[in-house]
Each structure stands twice: as structure tokens, then as C-alpha cells.
């Protein structure tokens, strides 16, 4: 299935399938010396913030988190991430709750149990908290709290992403 570079585990080699973004992002990628179709190896992915580090042609390249989130790759294993890493539009399923104490009580009472499906609606204007749709209602939680929830990505919210062909790319 299609996945994002940011969701990828460290140490894996993946092929850049496409970019879920406009021509500007493609140019940024090209400026880094990368192109669609290249095989890269993920060296470093902090999963929360800061750039990612990949290896291409035995050269280390650092990619900003923003751009990396738009890079689509092909993966076989199910993608498990923590809820703070998801993108708007993603539909995910809760697989594990690592939180403790009051917050655990509250999340469980709100219905955040294993197997429940969430849709990522939006991030607050300042980037935190996050709003998700769960069982017909909207729930907001801080990224700090979302970090303790593991989810499996069921569907990527590729806003506007339709075809692999772009009219501006040659061939």
C-alpha cells in the first residue's frame, strides 16, 4: 500500500512513488538531488520533529518533515504510528493505548478503545491540539496525549491526490 515517508521505520529501503503536493514541492525534492522513482534508505526518523535523514547513492540527505510527509512510498507491512504523527484526512484504527492515570480513564471513557476507527479532521491553528472524529463525535486532544496512542493507518488522507501522472512532468 501507499504510505508516507514520515511513517516509515528507520533502516528500510523504499522507492519514492510520488509526491502528494504541487510543483513547488517537486522542485524542492529535485533540489535535494532526489526524484520520483529513486530508491532511498531511511537512516533517521525521530517520529516527532526535526528533519529526516535518508541515504541515496551512498550520500546522506536531510529532508524537512513537512516535505517528507508529502513523499509517498510503497510499503507492504501495515503502517503503525502514534496518533500525533498522522495527517489531516487519514483514517486510522486504534491498536494500543500506552497512556496511564487520569488520561487513560478519560480516553477509555470517551471510547478510545482498541479497534475503534478515527478520522483526522484538523489540527488547531497553532498546530496543537488535534481534532479527530470518533463514533460520530468530534474529540480534541493534545499531541502530547496523542503520542501515547498507537494507531494503524487504514486510509491515507491524500488531499487532492488522484492520479500518478502529472501534466507538468515529462513522460
Amino acid at each position: 500500500m501507499i504510505s508516507r515517508l514520515t511513517y516509515c521505520e528507520e533502516g528500510f529501503s523504499v522507492v519514492i512513488k510520488d509526491l502528494n503536493a504541487g510543483i513547488g514541492a517537486l522542485q524542492n525534492l529535485n533540489n535535494l538531488g532526489l526524484n520520483i522513482g529513486d530508491t532511498i534508505k531511511l537512516l533517521e526518523n525521530s517520529r516527532q520533529e526535526g528533519p529526516l535523514s535518508v541515504e541515496f547513492n551512498s550520500r546522506e540527505i536531510r529532508i524537512g518533515r513537512e516535505l517528507a510527509g508529502k513523499i509517498l512510498i510503497e510499503t507492504e507491512s501495515p503502517v503503525i504510528v502514534t496518533l500525533d504523527q498522522v495527517k489531516v484526512g487519514d483514517i486510522v484504527e486504534v491498536t494500543k493505548m500506552n497512556s496511564a492515570g487520569d488520561i487513560r480513564y478519560r480516553l477509555l471513557d470517551m471510547g478510545l478503545v482498541r479497534g475503534v476507527k478515527l478520522k483526522v479532521i484538523r489540527f488547531a491553528p497553532l498546530g496543537d491540539p488535534i481534532e479527530v472524529k470518533i463514533n460520530e463525535f468530534m474529540l480534541s486532544l493534545r499531541l502530547e496525549e496523542a503520542r501515547s496512542i498507537e494507531v494503524k493507518i487504514l486510509e491515507f488522507g491524500l488531499n487532492g491526490y488522484r492520479s500518478k501522472k502529472r501534466w507538468w512532468t515529462k513522460g
Binding site: 477509555l108 478503545v113 475503534v116 463514533n135 474529540l139 480534541s140
Partner: protein, 715 residues
Amino acid sequence: MNKDREILVALAGNPNSGKTSLFNKLVGANQKVGNWSGVTVEKYEGATSHKGFKIKVIDLPGTYSLTTYSPEEVVARNFLVDEKPDVVVNVIDATNLERNLYLTTQLIDIQANLIVALNMYDEVEDQKIIIDHNQLERLFGAHMIPTSTTKNSGIQSVLDHIVDLYTGAIDVKRNKLNFSAHLEYYIEKMVEIFLTDKELSAKYLPRWLAIKLLVNDKAVYDLVRDRSVWTNVNKVLSEAVYKTGNEFNTDTELMLKEERHAFIRGAIKETVRRSNNRKKSTTDLIDSILINRITGLPIFALFMWLIFQLTFSLGEAPMLWIESAFNHLSIYMSSVLPDGMTKSIIVDGIIAGVGGVVVFLPNIMILFLALAFLEGTGYMARAAFVIDKVMHKFGLHGKSFIPMITGFGCSVPAFMATRTLKNESDRITTLLIIPFMSCGAKFPVYVLIAGTFFEQSMAGNVLFGIYLFGVIIALISAKLLKSTFFKGESEPFVMELPPYRMPSVKTLLFQMWHKAAIYLRKAGTIILFAAVLIWFASNFPRSVDIEKYYEDQRLMLELNSEYDNNKRNELKEKLRVKELAEQIEYSIVGRLGHLIEPLVSPLGLDWRLGISLVTGIAAKEIVVSTMGTIYSLGDIDENSAALRERLLANPDYNQAVALSFMVFVLLYIPCFAASIVFHREAGKWKWTFFYIFYTVAVAWLMSFIVYRISLFLLM
């Protein structure tokens, strides 16, 4: 009326389930608001009669669950478990059954005589959702009644059911929620042991105790751990915990809650049909404008500005009316009453004191109307969502923002607005930093002092600096309190963003009136007492010598034939004012001013400013007028040129003193009325004492630092 014919009904339900609207529909205006004992959670109760029965309705606070997570949940749960109301009406938002039914399953656990009001049923029909209530009734073992407060339907049916359930005309439906065989095995074993403790099992349902122990409920653990049965129960519990971990690789709490949710999910699958072609809801549409990444913040700022403007600009006119009404009253009373102590205590003590409190009423009513509107429509949760990141940096919650900005107008409504914060540590922290948000009453003091000691071009900057300084101190304090007293006690931000709804005007007005009533009740009691106390402190003891001296002076004036009547009156007024100044210096307040001089002199302040600070505890409006009295100028305001001259003429005063004084006024205790409200909202004496100590200590320290630095820089 026969006591047997009174039915005690509790309304329980999630926040935003329309519970309050239903409560208003059930009991109408016949309701009162109080406080649940021991906690700062409002208690609404009302009564109505139906078919010859008196029905007393308690509106429990809105909760998602019956754990002991928040004071609201504790209150709701204790009432349900300890008071055992005759009937429990569980109000649920029928458009959102999955989450709302979770509480219902817990009400089943306590075997309440349950009626479920499927509220907002009109929206269910609009959204073309089909609910099979008969099947839902069978599954949950409770009567389900579709209701709608906007369409005014189902209300009578709820009342009928309450009475019929009480009289036994219809059966109480009961059903227990069955968990998996694994859990049931341990629940039953624990129940057997609990049944041997007659006293405990008569008071609490054994099954409920067992279930609560499996989800690590601390309150239930405290209930049973001192009983003799505990050793045996604990054995079963430990085995359950061990086996669940070992065989299912999970824990009992998680397993039980997952099964609860699974039961609900199954029930819904069986009974609810949603139409497939759902279009984007209005809520989604509004949200895509109100809280999107670009417009979210500006719209938030606009709303906050609007609330502030409405509260304090629109409130100004009625404030002036109240002020002039009290003025007229005191003038009238002055003319009616004979001169003397009684007149003074009534006019200067009681009327002035209560007037100074009632004057905040328009602010409180407008602010709480606006807040009830934001809460009722659902924007309040969005406001917290938008600003939480900033507030969280200082250890605060997104909901702390509104009380904080309200503090710029007046601390009294600001303290009252902290009720939206559910977590005690968040609420106390917010309460403690509100005094640093410079309130409107302090403004005249700054205008006088900054205007006197700084050039016109600088005065504005100084004023702005003072406000900014207050905000900075508030935020630093929040961070400090959160990392010391309330370490790690921050409320997790797990909040529902409810669908936008138009609240009914009646509900809004009720909420506004309740807030006003609470405040007025305070004004009528404690604040009245305090007003008399303060009056006493600034009038007693009186010096007979001073009185006699001025009596003689006046007599001499009368006998002096040089002056015409006008001149004589003018001189008489001067004498009166001078006498007032000397008497206030002689009084308790004046003595306090002298007494604290050694304390305030490191800040560059003398006894005159000291007295002003002491009287300022009553109200900040008095600071300027006290200065007028001390300088024998009579009744003056902050623009008085005479007072400015006198201040400038004092060789001990300079810009450093001016800054130090303003900083002190900015940071120390707000007025007396605010302190009373603080105590009410904080709920514990410990916090009130801390609040007094903390604000005064911070004020002293900051004044000292500002004074020393500015002495060094400016001189």
C-alpha cells in the same frame, strides 16, 4: 402535601446532551441554584407537580462517566449511589448514541430506576436516522422516550413515566450488562464474598463494587479495604488481575471497558440505521471557517474582543445608573436622617459599601450571558482548542484564557468565570493569577500617578508597561505554581467539540440570572458586613481633641464678622475636609498606615501612600479619594489638578516612587468584593490565605525591585 407523594428524580447525562434544557422544560422557573457541599460545582434543583405528585428534580452535573475523575463525576456518582433517587432520568443525545450510552451502561450497573430520554430526537429525524427503541429498551433494560426540547415534545411522557415508575403502574425494567465469561466468573465470586458482609451489601450493590474494583476505582477500594471481607475479595481480585494479564495479555480495566464499548457497538448495529448519503453537516461547514488554520486565530481574537467590549462598554451605562441611584439614595438618606453616627454608618458604610458591590452586576450579567451563549452554541470548546497551545506553554488550560482576559475588566466576574475549568489545579492556578491582570478600577490610580510624574508623551508608555508587566507576572506565576504546588496535575486536554446548536433564550437567561443571584446573595451578606467593618476602621477611634479643636474653629468662624456668607461657607468646607484628614490619620486605618510605614518605606512609600494602599483593599476606586482626603482636598478624582500639585510638591516623591506605587497597586489584593468571590470559587480557606499572602508578597517584591532599579536608572 404528603411526604410519600414526593418523588426524588435525578437527571444524569453527558455534557451537551441538552440536559439543562430538559431540566428547564421540566421544572420551569421553579428552580434554585446552590453548591454541592465541599466542592465548587453548582447544584441545580427544581420542582414540579404531576398527577398529584410533587416531583423534585436534581440536575446532576454533566459527565461522560461515573468514575471519580473530576469533582463533577464524584458529585453525580455520590448522589446516585448514596441518595438512591427514586427515578433516574438519563438524558442522552440521540444523534450520538455511541458515546452517550456509555454512561447508561454505568447507570445499569448501579441498578437505578432508569428512564432514558432520547433527547434531540428532532435532529435524529432530520438526519434520517432510524432508531428501533423497542429493541434498544430490551437490550438496555430501561424505558426509552424520544424527547425534543426545541420541539417541546416528549416532556409530558417523561413526567408520566416518572410517576408510573414510582407508583408501579409500569414495571421497572432491569437488565444487567453481561461481561465475558472470564470476567463474570470473578465478578460473581466477589459478589458472593460481598454478600457475607450484610452492612456493606445493604448499602452498595455487590456487583457494582466488584465491577469498580476491576477497573481500579480508588474510591471503591477505599470503601472496602477496611472491611473484614477484603482479604478474601482481594484474593479473587489479584487472581483476576493475574489471569487477565497472563491469558489475555491485557488488564482488567481495559478488558472491562472494551467489553462495555463492544456491547454498545453491538446494540447500535442492531438498532440504528443511518442513511448513507450524508452531506457535510452544518457543524463541519462552520468549523471549516471558525477554526481553520488561517482564520481560526483572528476570529477567536475578534470574539474575545467582542465579549470584553460588550461586558465593559455596554455595561458602563447601567453601571452609571446604579451608581447614581445609590448616590441619590445616600443624598436622600443624608437629608432625612439626623446627623451622627447612625447616619454615617448608613450612608458612608452600608449604602456606599453595598453600592460598590451591586455596581458590578451589569458586568456580571452581560459577561455570563455572553459566556452562556458561547458555551451553548459550542464555540467555547473551540476557543479552548484554538488557544490551548499558548496557554499550555505556561501550564494552563485553553479554557483559562477567558477568565484571564476578563480580569482586565474586573476580577469579580473573572473569578466566577473560572467555573468552566473542571480540574481543580487548573482552576486554582487561574484564580491566583487573575489579580495580576490589571482591572478597570486600578486605571484611575495609574492615570493620576503616571500623569503627575511623567511627561505626557511618556505617561502612555508607562501605562502600557504596567499592563504588560501584570500579564508577564501572571504568566510567570502560572508556570511557577504549576511546577511547584500543582506539579504534574495538569488536566489532560481531552475535550469534545460538540455540534453547533442554537441555545434557547430561556436557558441563557436562566444561566445569567443564576450567576447574578449568586453574586447578589454575597453582596447582601458578607460584603455588607465587611462594608460596615471598613467604615468602622476608617472612623474609629475618634479623637475628641481634634473634634473639639475644629468645633472651636468653626465657632470662631461664625463669630468672625469680617467674612460674608459665601466666604464663611468656603472656609467651613476647608475646615471639614481638614478635620476629616486628621481624623482618618487618627483612626485604625490611619494607624495601620503609620504602622506599615517601615514595611513600605523600602519601596519608597510613606505613610500617606501606605494608608491609600490599606483603604485600597476595600476597593481600588478608594485609593485616589483617600489621597484626596489625606491631602485635605475633599472629594476629588484622578484628574484633580490640586492633588497633582500637592503630590509634586512632596520632595520625597519622584518617578521611582511613582513606579513602585503603581506596581504595588497593580499586583496586590484586588478589592474586597473580589476576595470574597475568590474564596467562594477556591472553596478552601487555605487558598484564600495563600492568595492574600502571594499577591501581597509578589507586589512587595516587584515594587522593591522596580523601585531600586528605577532609582538607579532615573536618578
